[in-house]
């Protein structure tokens, strides 16, 4: 792991810890989603810093992180094992099934929400009709189903075990 990866990893872990505390204390969905999304974006950027070169600045990245991790040419069994899959092909199939939730999580950032539901600002911008505070985000429902819960566990493990695959 290089110095840049370490910094992004530390911030991802810190954001995830904030999310986890909010979850246990029953904070509003908007705050939980914001910190969960930020942690996924940052662990993705930590991974993409592996060449010592800055990844794109965009808020996107988590779906690409999943895609790259699921298509690495080396150490496939070890990577699958880190995430509790016995076979790499099972890991790939699972990634395919959760990618729509990952895209939905990525799309809630204000920059990508296209003037729609986001966890930070009332929308639409010119004549707000909704506030994040009491909004029932669809992606949260997706995160509570079976695949979504599995994705949540994956995110936790991806952050906790980052040093074990950061250079893979």
């Amino acid at each position: 792991m290089n110095q840049y990866q370490r910094l992004w990893w530390e911030q991802a872990a810190c954001d995830y810890e904030a999310y986890d505390r909010m979850r246990r204390q029953g904070f509003a969905k908007c705050h939980k989603l914001q910190f969960l999304q930020m942690s996924t974006e940052k662990i993705a950027k930590a991974y993409f810093w592996r060449n010592g070169k800055a990844p794109p600045k965009t808020n996107a990245g988590f779906v690409q992180f999943l895609r790259f991790l699921a298509t690495i040419p080396n150490e496939r069994d070890r990577i699958a094992g880190l995430f509790a899959f016995r076979r790499f092909t099972d890991f790939q199939t699972w990634i395919y099934s959760v990618q729509p939730i990952a895209y939905a999580l990525e799309r809630i950032t204000p920059d990508l929400a296209n003037n729609g539901p986001n966890p930070e600002y009332p929308w639409p911008h010119s004549a707000p009709q909704f506030a994040p505070a009491k909004y029932d985000f669809e992606v949260w429902s997706q995160l509570e189903n079976s695949n979504g819960r599995h994705l949540m566990r994956f995110i936790k493990v991806a952050i906790e075990k980052f040093p074990e695959y950061a250079d893979t």
């Binding site: 993409f48 990245g61 779906v63 790939q92 990634i95 395919y96 895209y103």
Partner: protein, 99 residues
């Protein structure tokens, strides 16, 4: 190797409709992809910056995979020349992979 990566990406991401492999101008150990993605949020800033993913760096097998995800609309604009490709990239001689 480009075909292998393309098929792997198509297999693991339901958002990717097609992958264009752009060999023209790429280095010997460099693979450039434009991945047309139906699940990607529409972008308004049109900042097109590929992810640079190095594999086996520092070894004999070292190579770099550059991936640029674009929406269908962005791809249409790219084909017509309205949207600029990343510096040094070209659509000439492209090969396309689909599911």
């Amino acid at each position: 190797m480009a075909r292998w990566y393309a098929m792997e990406h198509l297999k693991t991401d339901p958002g990717i409709r097609a992958i264009h492999y752009l060999p023209k101008g790429a280095g010997d150990r460099e693979i450039r992809f434009i991945e047309i993605n139906t699940l990607l949020a529409d972008r308004t800033d049109d900042s097109l910056e590929p992810i640079d993913f190095g594999v086996n760096m520092g070894s004999e097998k070292a190579h770099r995979l550059f991936v640029l995800d674009v929406t269908e609309k962005q791809w249409t604009r790219m084909e017509s020349g309205e949207l600029t490709l990343p510096n040094g990239w070209s659509l000439a001689d492209k090969a396309t992979y689909k599911k």
